[in-house]
Each structure stands twice: as structure tokens, then as C-alpha cells.
Symmetry: C2
Subunit: 358 residues, 2 copies
């Protein structure tokens, strides 16, 4: 297998939140990345532009990126709804014609586009649609609630609060401690990073919970801890259904609630972000009748706060909720993994099926 030498397309939006895919791939697969395309930040390094990623260069266009001898291009921007904007088409065609493999997390599949497919075949390039999902997903059957592994789902008060990062950081930290821990990816970025997973927001309604169930059953087979990446938020006007299907399909033993303290409104909507206690309460309501999934940790996303400000937010949140809280990027995931292990070891597993109170 050839080493991936990746150019990330993040034109016009390279940033920690502006291009989640780009920034997360740089954080966890930095060794793959040879350049980032964003003409608005050309000349900077990734480190300068987003605070991490070191000397990875940001360049103005594909021509400049080609100087770094890439063999693949990743569409690192997630347009609303995931569909292909016309202006990116030209860049992708040029990349394919140069023989680069193209990874995409968009809802519009490259492999459904006859022009891309024809050109890729001609040039020996692969088209990898990270959001392409299995055809034979089941309807969820409450099976995930019965696995022996301890299953943790990252939930959020909104989209883009750090659910993938927190699940990944916890899995990495648990493995560092010698534990058999699995990160189960549910979105295009996590799938690129993990090399496997199911993009649950691309699954047809009836089978979303079944996709989550499948991920948990597979992850639990050879692991004692499964960290399932959450998607969307039950509070999000557009994506709440996916979030609830994930909760009911995965039937986790515990939740980690992800929240950005400085965000006031759900992205793009005139809808306030709920408080963490409010979010914990609603998730208790929504999990309780199938299998209680208590929130045993809180992950604050303080990327836009200083360390002192973040610590103050963490302290305030712990006081308000009584739940262990941290920022996994600023302070590591140790505190959250401690909380998970405490709950897993105290035999806190509750079997799925009949509700405990009625």
C-alpha cells in the first residue's frame, strides 16, 4: 500500500470550525497531509492558520499543491447538506486528471457522476465516497443494549461541538492505558481517520438506528470499551432525527455531553443552544424508556477561550451539574476516561428491554 500524500481542499473556509473535516484530519492524520488549499490563507502554515498542524503549507490552488507531490485529494469542506458546489467541480476534475485519488464526504457521490467516473478510470485514480453506506443495514432490534462492552456515546447541545474529537480522544487515551477500546465512526471525517465506519446521516430513515446498532455490535466484538461518535443534536432543527436514532440504536451505557460554552445559537438558526443541564435532562428522558444512558462526563469545546477562561467554565459546569467536566483538547481526555472506567467497573450496565420505572 502506498503512503497517502494528501492535499485537503478547504477553499475559503480553512479554520477549526469552518472546515471540520480539514482541521480534524490534520489533527489526527497530520502525517498524511502535504498541503491545504485555501486561497484566502495562502502562504500561511496550518499551525498559523488553525493553531495546529505545524508546517503543513496552505496554498492558493491545486497547481501550487501539486509541487508537494500529492497522490490524493480530500474534499475537506462540508457544504450544508453535503452537496457538490459547482466551483469545486473544476478542481476535482483537474485532480483526477492528474491521477490523484479523491476522497469525499459529500452527500453527492463522486462515484455517481459519470464524468468523474470516466476520467478516474482513464487516469487510474480512485474515487472514495466516505458517506457511501452499506445497502443491507437492518432495522434496529435493541441488540446494542445487550453487548458486554461498555458503550459510550458522545452527544451534543448542537452540531460541531466536538463529538467526534471527544470520542476519538477517549479511545486514544483508553488504548494508552492498555485497554481494548474502539472508536466507532459515524461521520465522513471520523471514517477517513479510522478507515472504517458508517455515515449515519446518509442512511435512509428506517435504518439509521440499525446502522448505529451495527457499529456497536461490530465494535463490541473484540473490545471492552466502545466510543461511538455522535452526530447532530436532538436539539437541532435539521438533524435531530439522526441524533435520536443514534441514541436508540446504540443504546449506550453512558453519554458524554459535548458543548461549546460561547455559542449562543444553533448554527444558522435563530434557536438558542440549550444549557448543559437542560441537555442532560432531555437525554435522560429520551434514553430512560429504553435503557438509561446517564451523562457521566461533559466535554466543553473551549477552542475560542484562553486556558484560564476554559478552567473557569469547567469549574462552573462541574458545580452546576456535579458531572466531571473537561476540555479534551486543552487538558486531555483522562478525566473522562476515569469517569467511564468508574461507571463500567461499578457494574453500572443496565440491560435493555423493559423500562425500569413506569
Amino acid at each position: 500500500m502506498k503512503k497517502t500524500r494528501l492535499v485537503i481542499l478547504a477553499e475559503g473556509s480553512f479554520g477549526v470550525l469552518g472546515s471540520k473535516t480539514a482541521s480534524c484530519v490534520i489533527r489526527y492524520r497530520w502525517d498524511d497531509v502535504v498541503a491545504v488549499i485555501d486561497s484566502s490563507k495562502a502562504g500561511q502554515t496550518a499551525g498559523q492558520a488553525i493553531g495546529f498542524g505545524g508546517s503543513i503549507p496552505v496554498v492558493a490552488g491545486l497547481d501550487d499543491a501539486l509541487k508537494f507531490d500529492p497522490n490524493a485529494l480530500l474534499v475537506g469542506i462540508a457544504p450544508k447538506g453535503g452537496r457538490l458546489p459547482a466551483e469545486w467541480r473544476k478542481i476535482l476534475l483537474e485532480a483526477i486528471s492528474r491521477g490523484l485519488d479523491v476522497y469525499s464526504g459529500m452527500h453527492t457521490f463522486l462515484s455517481d457522476d459519470s464524468e468523474f467516473v470516466r476520467l478516474a478510470a482513464e487516469r487510474g485514480a480512485r474515487l472514495i465516497d466516505l458517506r457511501k453506506v452499506p445497502e443491507d443495514l437492518p432495522v434496529a432490534k435493541c441488540l446494542a443494549g445487550k453487548v458486554d462492552a461498555f458503550v459510550v456515546l458522545t452527544a451534543g447541545t448542537d452540531c460541531a461541538t466536538g463529538k467526534m474529537t471527544v470520542a476519538l480522544e477517549m479511545a486514544i487515551e483508553a488504548r494508552k492505558r492498555g485497554l481494548r477500546a474502539h472508536f466507532a465512526a459515524t461521520g465522513q471525517t471520523g471514517i477517513y481517520i479510522a478507515g472504517e465506519g458508517i455515515a449515519v446521516d446518509r442512511v435512509v430513515g428506517d435504518f439509521i438506528a440499525g446502522a448505529a446498532e451495527t457499529l456497536v455490535l461490530n465494535g463490541a466484538r473484540e473490545n471492552d470499551l466502545v466510543f461511538l461518535e455522535g452526530q447532530g443534536s436532538v436539539f437541532h432543527p435539521g438533524y435531530s432525527g439522526v441524533a435520536l436514532a443514534l441514541l436508540h440504536g446504540a443504546l449506550p451505557d453512558a453519554l458524554i455531553m459535548c458543548h461549546q460554552p460561547t455559542r449562543r445559537f444553533i448554527n444558522d438558526y435563530e434557536v438558542p443552544v440549550p444549557s448543559v443541564p437542560e441537555a442532560i435532562r432531555l437525554h435522560n428522558e429520551l434514553s430512560g424508556f429504553l435503557k438509561p444512558a446517564p451523562t457521566i462526563g461533559i466535554a466543553l469545546n473551549c477552542f475560542d477561550l484562553s486556558e484560564d477562561e476554559a478552567l473557569a467554565e469547567i469549574e462552573r459546569t462541574e458545580k452546576e451539574t456535579g458531572v466531571p467536566t473537561t476540555d479534551c483538547i486543552k487538558f486531555g481526555a483522562g478525566k473522562l476516561v476515569d469517569a467511564v472506567l468508574e461507571h463500567a467497573k461499578s457494574g453500572g450496565k443496565v440491560r435493555c428491554g423493559f423500562r425500569t420505572s413506569h
Copy 2:
């Protein structure tokens, strides 16, 4: 346009709940139906087999059905997950080879099957996949909460509690009263009956709420009342995501809660059906932060109770909840339409956007 002369395939499961599509099409499009295929009830009439549908004959197989000169066949059974069982394949091929149009509500599309497509083209038969959805659905943008029409969504304590029937009965009753009322179909059966709609459980996760929004915006354009057919239930382990997406995409002004008093467990699961007050409370929680959708009526599905038993259940439920309750099939939808009009006229419309309490 030729008059539809429909055979319904309900092999092995013709019944009020066993074949929802079959029984509902007979109830609302009885004039289309020339025969029902179910070898286990062959020789009976629909009236004898399910209590309505009069003299429509139930026959043993397609050969017998052909005596009634059909020009179309409807797959009237919804297999779990909606996929095509092998044993039905032969019947469909035979029907197509006879030139019958075939309507299907399955997740597996007839029009994706090259053998069906080829044969249909040869024989001049049409293949109509009722679950096929538009390609260009949007992510929901909270627009449905701002229409002038009064929007009513039927919610349920489980699947198959009568959500489609109740929405349809209310629309019919409102139209009888001279009101501009629209039934918005969200499932294959409702789509066959109404001749339009979107099968929301077939929509990809990210766009389910957007599909509901689209249906409301379209329905509200030339109507004062929109009755949106609910799907699944927020309590259902497999389908809760679809139900929540519908609620948040449609942002209804009010809910009608559908419930079968004699059902103890969610179909196929070891999960108890919630009580009506419990269901009302959770729906209040789930709608409150976007746009309150109070439950202003309760529709009990008492198909398996006598009239006296049904009246007793209705009285008990009204006492327990304080909400107008009826069984729309046994006693008509008048009481529910009264409740809707009272709320619509009292200016009970609440604009979407900022939550009213925090």
C-alpha cells in the same frame, strides 16, 4: 386516464393491522379495488375478512385475481424494513408479464431491478415506487413554523396506531365542513391514497426534517389547515429518528396523539407502549424548545374493542388527560376537528424561533 382496477397482494397477512396498506387502500380507495390476494382467506369477501370493503373478493392467487380484469397490482404488505421477499418476486413478474402496472411501497425499488424494468418495458406496464423520494430535498430551516395555515401532526405511542387514518379522517371531515384542508402524506399508503406525498422514512437522515418542511410549505400554500401524517413514534427503538425529524421539520401548531389502548408492547420489541400522558409529556419536551406543539386531541384506535368498551376507554382517557378524545373510525373525526378549529381560531399560533421559556 384509465380507471384503476387494482389487485392487492396481501398474501398470508390480510387484516386490519397485518396488512396496513391493503386495508387502508380498501378503506379509502375501495372503488379502485377488484380483488385481494391472500390464499389463507380465499373465498371470503373483504367485508368478512377485515370488517369493511364489502364484497371485494379475496382470492388464492394471481390467476384467480385475473378473472376480475385488473390493470394494476399493489404490493399491500409492508415487510419489516420494506424489502422484497423472494416469494413475491414470482407474482410480480407474472403480473408485469400480463401488462399490469405495479405499485410498491417497499424500500427495494421495482424500478432499480433490471428484470422488472426490462419486462415492464416489453409489456407496456408501469412500475410505481411509492417510496421513491425527490433527490433535492433541503435541510430543514424552521420555515414550516411560519406558515399561515394551522398545521396538525398526528403522533403516536407506537407505529401502526392510526396516524395516517386519523390525519386523513380529519382532512375529510374538515373538507366536508367547507374548509380548505390538506392531507399531507408521508408514507407509501397515504401516498397511494392521496396521489402525492413524500415517504419520509425513505429519505436520507440529513433531509428527513427537510422533507416534512417541504410537505408543510406545499400543503399550506392553498389551504388553511394542513393535516400531516405522522410516521413511527419517538418511543420506537427502530424508527424514533424519523418521528422526531418529522416533528422538528413540520413544526406543527398542534398534535393529535394516536394510541391503541389494548397494545402492551411496541410491535416486535420487549418495550412497553407508553401511556398517553407520558407520550404527551415527552412530545411537549421535544417540541417546546423549537415551537410548542400541544396535544389538543387524542385518537384511540379501538378496532379490537366493542363500541361500549371503546366509549369507556375514551371517557377514561379524557378524564386522565383533559384532552378531547375519540376513535375516528368508530365515531368520526368531528370531535378532533372541533378541537383543531377551536385552537386555530383562538389564535393559538406560536411563531417558530426563540424558545418561549428557557
